[in-house]
């Protein structure tokens, strides 16, 4: 609780200024020490505050996985759905009220693997959804299996000889499918991340933000990056900021550069715009049975 006393803010030792944005009794969270999800969640809250969107109109939807747990911690209308299906759930939820701001927070496995088909089609339709996709390069919650974002040579429990498959380049995937706002950040870059989150929240249409997060527990320790800070340092040393670059050139490889920035920001009619347009067209059609 924040107490106001003679114009100075005195913080109760047990309290945090963002407490009212977290569900009572839900903290401590399940995330490991060194995980980036705590700071990313903080940035999500700060961006929501800065966007000045009425909290009543905000709905958080997530799928399954470590990142998927964020929905349950945030004190907005929140929906923790099935693995991969956050996006179509979010579309159904979103189109019932044009004023609703639906935010999907989920991981790379949830959004790009089991939910990959829904990602490309949600982008194609320019559904009015903001996606915060936290990429930790593998499946954390299930114990560190290889994923669609694992780079070639990455060691995971199901790639014991090193990953042999090319990873997805998520910003390129989203952009090529029609996403109208696309950016990527590392979890270290909280200032730019927050600015971008605010832009994504206020963007009309499908906004997709990839955040590279540290997972020391099931990614780092198998890949010579033993703790969270080491992973973030590794990100820092490799990061290159390149706004507006063709996201096709932003593929992440082992030890290669990590290109971050805002890659796409365009305006197009959204799914909701188009559905509402149909209402006018349908008015003059006599129904037949």
């Amino acid at each position: 609780m924040i107490k106001k006393e003679s114009n100075s803010m005195i913080l109760d030792a047990e309290a945090h200024p963002l407490d009212s944005y977290l569900r009572p009794g839900r903290i401590p969270h399940i995330w490991c020490s060194g995980c980036s999800l705590g700071s990313i969640t903080t940035v999500v809250i700060e961006a929501i505050i800065e966007s000045e969107i009425d909290p009543k109109n905000i709905a958080i939807v997530s799928g399954i996985g470590c990142t998927g747990r964020a929905a349950g911690y945030l004190n907005f209308d929140s929906f923790h759905t099935t693995h991969g299906r956050a996006l179509p759930f979010a579309i159904g939820l979103g189109i019932t009220d044009p004023n609703r701001k639906v935010i999907v927070i989920s991981g790379d496995g949830d959004i790009a693997s089991i939910g990959g088909n829904h990602l490309i089609h949600a982008a194609r339709r320019n559904a009015d959804i903001t996606v915060f996709c936290v990429n930790n390069f593998q499946y954390g919650m299930t114990g560190g299996q290889v994923g669609p974002t694992s780079y070639i040579g990455q060691y995971q429990t199901t790639s014991p000889y090193g990953n042999i498959e090319e990873p997805f380049n998520l910003p390129a995937l989203a952009a090529s499918c029609g996403a109208t706002y696309v950016s990527r950040w590392t979890a270290l870059d909280v200032r730019r991340m927050k600015e971008s989150f605010v832009e994504a929240l206020l963007h009309k249409g499908f906004s997709f933000v990839e955040i590279l997060g540290a997972c020391p527990t099931t990614y780092g320790r198998r890949n010579q990056l033993r703790d969270g800070l080491t992973i973030l340092e590794n990100f820092k040393n490799r990061t290159i900021l390149q706004h507006g670059i063709d996201p096709m050139k932003a593929q992440i490889q082992k030890d290669g550069p990590i290109i971050v920035g805002k890659f796409v920001e365009i305006q197009k009619p959204t799914l909701t715009d188009n559905l509402l347009r149909l209402h006018k067209m349908a008015k003059n059609v006599k129904p037949e049975l």
Binding site: G92, N117, A282
Partner: protein, 390 residues
């Protein structure tokens, strides 16, 4: 003076000659459905096509999704947005939907799924009749749960049961399946659509607490075991999850929370069987030989009862309108009096097995008169199989 354009109503009151697929779509609209998310599949596609035309006329939305996984997920989402929602599919699509039907059960999400059954397994008989998904409708998703499934046997009943399905979904906060079949879906009959005032529409219970005053408990059930439903945007900061959860909607991963929630999810249906279970009796008072059937098969079964009666055989028909929860008690009573029970269905005995279970230790023997999909029974075929056992 300009006249305001007359709005196209959500109920097309009047008499029509139309198909089961269109009737179930119109029944859904009459029930107050405002959202349909679907994916094309034979023999159900006409439901989606009709909803695509009609929903924008009544201020609703139709979205064709990339697959059935997405379709049902969107239906759950729209229901949490406060809209009555449905989808339609056939066996292969239903197989993809069962994942999120389970989520609908766990989140207690009102919604309706129309399954116009064809022959299976797998791609099976896309254009031909089947009744092979009745057990899938009961057990398709993993875990223990109770669910509601209704089976119409006429075009009129496709309309009427669509309204019942939405009402049950709203009242009990559960996904309801309408188990149609290819023949019912595609055949044309007379349909009478009543006036709007004659359609009974039920809506989900609203919470009694005011939003924002205290911490809202979205899964605190009333005495009837059904929690009121706070949807998105009402200020309740509602929370829901597919994980085992407590009254707060918070995940609780232990055996006692699991027992509590599974018991309640099952009992809210089982304790209301009298309200949910519907069946139709035909010449049962003195029947020694009872046919049990549902959907299109029940019409051939009724014909067989008439043929048998003409020959002096005391036959009767129990037609199941509600398939799930199962009419155990009614069947048990009948099995005390009847000599033989025959179950007429287009599958390899899925309801026969259920009847044998319900009628166990009673007087009557139970036999299935079965077809495996692709065609419907004729009354003469049914009578012939009956006579072999009489």
């Amino acid at each position: 003076m300009s006249k305001k354009t007359e709005e196209i109503p959500d109920i097309l009151t009047g008499e029509y000659f139309t198909t089961g697929n269109l009737a179930v779509a119109e029944g859904s609209l009459a029930a107050g459905c405002k959202y349909f998310g679907g994916y094309p599949i034979t023999p159900s596609s006409e439901v989606a096509e009709h909803m695509a035309e009609r929903l924008p006329q009544v201020g609703g939305h139709f979205v064709q999704f990339e697959d059935e996984l997405a379709s049902i997920a969107s239906v759950l989402g729209a229901s949490w947005g406060g809209w009555k929602s449905c989808t339609a599919t056939s066996g292969p699509g239903y197989s993809l939907m069962v994942e999120n039907i389970g989520l609908g059960v766990m989140m207690e999400t009102p919604c309706v799924i129309v399954n116009v059954q064809r022959g299976g397994p797998s791609t099976g008989l896309p254009t031909l009749v089947g009744q092979q998904d009745v057990q899938q409708a009961r057990w398709g998703s993993h875990g223990d749960y109770e669910i509601i499934a209704l089976s119409p046997n006429s075009v009129q009943e496709c309309f009427d049961l669509a309204i019942d399905a939405f009402n049950y979904a709203e009242k009990y906060r559960v996904p309801v399946t309408i188990l149609m079949d290819e023949t019912i879906g595609h055949m044309s009959e007379r349909l009478v659509i009543p006036k709007r005032s004659q359609v009974k529409r039920l809506n989900r219970k609203k919470p009694s607490d005011k939003p924002g005053q205290q911490i809202h408990l979205p899964y605190e059930a009333d005495k009837d075991l059904i929690p009121p439903m706070a949807v998105a945007g009402e200020g309740y900061r509602t929370i829901t999850t597919g994980l085992t959860h407590d009254a707060r909607g918070y995940p609780v991963i232990n055996a006692s929370a699991q027992k509590k929630i599974v018991k309640r999810l099952c009992n809210k249906i089982l304790l209301n069987k009298n309200d949910i279970i519907k069946f139709e009796e035909y010449l049962l008072e003195d029947a020694e030989y009872v046919l049990i059937s549902f959907g299109i098969s029940s019409r051939a079964a009724k014909g067989a009862v008439n043929l048998a009666r003409n020959k002096g055989i005391k036959a009767g028909l129990l037609r199941l309108i509600t398939i799930w929860p199962f009419a155990d008690e009614a069947i048990q009573e009948m099995a005390k009096k009847a000599k033989v029970i025959f179950v007429v269905e287009i599958n390899n005995g899925q309801i026969t097995r259920e009847v044998q279970r319900a009628a166990a230790k009673q007087k009557a023997d139970v036999y299935g008169i079965l077809k495996l999909g692709g065609s419907i029974h004729t009354p003469a075929e049914i009578l012939k199989e009956m006579e072999e056992k009489i």
